[in-house]
């Protein structure tokens, strides 16, 4: 009888340890900031614009950002440091917010062209914005971000493999996913991944092309060099991300 009782106790303790170990293992990721040059990826030019407490407070509230998602090295304690993910995200948000000459002054303003509605749309469809080393369950470096419906996770490649304009476009792209549109084209487009069937579907790729195209046509507070780059990116995305090419001469 005593042996049976001992056996029961041991089993209970073993199960307890197993469950706790599983939970702990799942919860912790570690990573290192990869080599990067803030000038070369265009991040540094936004330094003066993003380092503003009122703006930081606004973005923090709009994107439901939380300390536990951005501390532990991600920049919570140094929000102007462009070497860290938080400031690099703010730089992208700054670009997204102020691309239009008459930029939207609140997140309820959807009027005007894509440069005006890109930020309000992103603000109202992203949900909680989180930073992680990598997508849980995936190989580190495999994904740049993931839209979960009511929140968006951003990973190391988003912060350090994309230039600032691409980071801004990616936020809109992910927000469109949370707005209800998954990629629906399988691998049927020339780039064979993240494809949308066509323009009429109004998916993330359409939003991205429109934002880049409008940025090239009407972007402000930037240079014609960056606008040309955005136009060429729009051309490439159009020709590679749709199963049926929209056929625009961008």
């Amino acid at each position: 009888m005593k042996n049976i009782q001992l056996y029961k106790n041991t089993t209970v303790i073993f199960i307890l340890l197993l469950v706790m170990t599983t939970l702990t293992t799942q919860a912790q990721q570690t990573c290192t900031v990869p080599p990067h040059d803030n000038v070369a990826d265009g991040t540094s030019v936004y330094a003066s614009g993003l380092c503003n407490q009122a703006r930081v407070d606004h973005w923090w509230g709009v994107f439901d950002m939380r300390r536990q998602d951005w501390d532990s090295g991600f920049g919570y304690y140094d929000p102007c440091n462009l070497d860290l993910p938080l400031a690099r995200t703010f730089a992208a948000l700054y670009l997204l917010t102020y691309s239009a000459e008459d930029y939207a002054t609140n997140t309820g303003d959807y009027s005007g062209n894509a440069l005006r509605w890109a930020y309000p749309y992103t603000a109202n469809n992203t949900g909680r914005l989180q930073a992680l080393c990598y997508k849980p369950g995936s190989t580190p470096g495999q994904w740049a971000g993931w839209a979960y419906g009511s929140r968006v996770e951003l990973y190391i490649p988003y912060f350090y493999s994309f230039d600032v304009v691409t980071r801004a476009g990616t936020l809109l792209h992910e927000a469109r996913h949370n707005g209800g549109k998954s990629h629906n084209g399988g691998s049927g487009c020339p780039r064979a991944a993240s494809c949308d069937t066509n323009w009429d579907y109004q998916g993330s790729n359409m939003y991205e092309v429109l934002y880049l195209w409008w940025f090239a046509v009407d972007g402000t507070r930037t240079t014609s060099a960056i606008r040309n780059m955005a136009r060429n990116r729009a051309r490439s995305v159009q020709n590679n991300a749709f199963n049926t090419n929209p056929g625009f001469n961008i």
């Binding site: 199960i15 919860a27 912790q28 080599p35 951005w70 304690y77 470096g141 998954s182």
Partner: protein
């Protein structure tokens, strides 16, 4: 013994309860994935936390790269201004271009820097080719063609479906084609011949821009050139045989709501600027 077992059982029940709650949350998230990413992994979202460290390998500066070239400092300063932001950004950029154009052998220096710059700095590489293009000088032509005619290398991150480095390479090629187009419009016959050759490029976007630029040059008769291209290009690509670009205002746009609820979360833990 029975008494000592009770707290353990209570603890176990608590753990089971937490796990169940987490499972429910993940189930909900899975439903969200179905809405937004039906074609991709249905892997469960996790409440995992991350720790990021910054070490000596994290910092990198390309400053040294420019020092070895004549006009290296001028080029580096120009690249910074080309990516600048603010109400004076374009004015400063144009002033820098003016200075660059006055510099001797600047096309050769730009091409030299381009060759040395690490591949993954796509934005910098694009800006160098943009500078070569904006010199609007015949001296740039051979370098522009060298770059425009190169094949698009394979995606360097095939394991990452969201990063396609071919797009970055295509952008660089397109910038070079635009530069050749500018020179051809300025009546450089060699540039026009290069455009003609680029119409056979492996990449659709390069073919598209080469075609439009070719049709915009002052050489020959546009209708005849178009007729020639209709015969030369496959029928499914005839849509880009045109001299005009599409007016974005006439393109289908998504309907945006006029009214909706604005949700700004109340928070007191926003990061503080020091």
């Amino acid at each position: 013994m029975k008494h000592s077992l009770k707290p353990l059982l209570v603890l176990l029940l608590l753990v089971v309860f937490v796990v169940t709650i987490q499972g429910c949350e993940n189930d909900n998230l899975d439903k969200s994935i179905d809405v937004t990413k039906t074609d991709e992994s249905s892997e469960k979202a996790s409440s995992a936390s991350s720790v990021l460290t910054f070490d000596e390998s994290s910092s990198l500066s390309l400053d040294g790269l420019f020092a070895g070239f004549p006009s290296g400092n001028l080029i580096q300063e120009h690249l910074k201004l080309s990516m600048a932001f603010g109400k004076d950004a374009e004015e400063n950029y144009q002033r820098s271009l003016y200075l660059l154009r006055k510099e001797k052998n600047i096309a050769e220096s730009l091409a030299g820097v381009y060759q040395k710059i690490p591949t993954q700095y796509y934005l910098y590489r694009t800006m160098i080719i943009e500078a070569l293009k904006e010199l609007r000088s015949d001296e740039s032509l051979k370098y522009l063609y060298e770059i425009a005619s190169l094949s698009i290398p394979r995606d360097t991150e095939p394991e990452n479906p969201e990063i396609d480095t071919r797009t970055d390479e295509i952008i660089i090629r397109l910038t070079a084609v635009e530069g050749i187009g500018i020179l051809a419009i300025q009546k450089n016959e060699e540039a026009e011949k290069m455009l003609m050759r680029l119409i056979d490029h492996e990449d659709l976007s390069v073919r598209q821009i080469a075609t439009r630029s070719y049709l915009q040059t002052p050489f020959g008769n546009v209708e005849e050139k178009m007729k020639e291209l209709y015969e030369r290009l496959p029928q499914q690509e005839h849509w880009y045989i045109t001299t005009r670009s599409t007016d974005i205002r006439k393109v289908e746009h998504p309907e945006m709501p006029k009214e909706f609820d604005i949700k700004i979360n109340e928070t007191e833990d926003s990061p503080k600027i020091r």
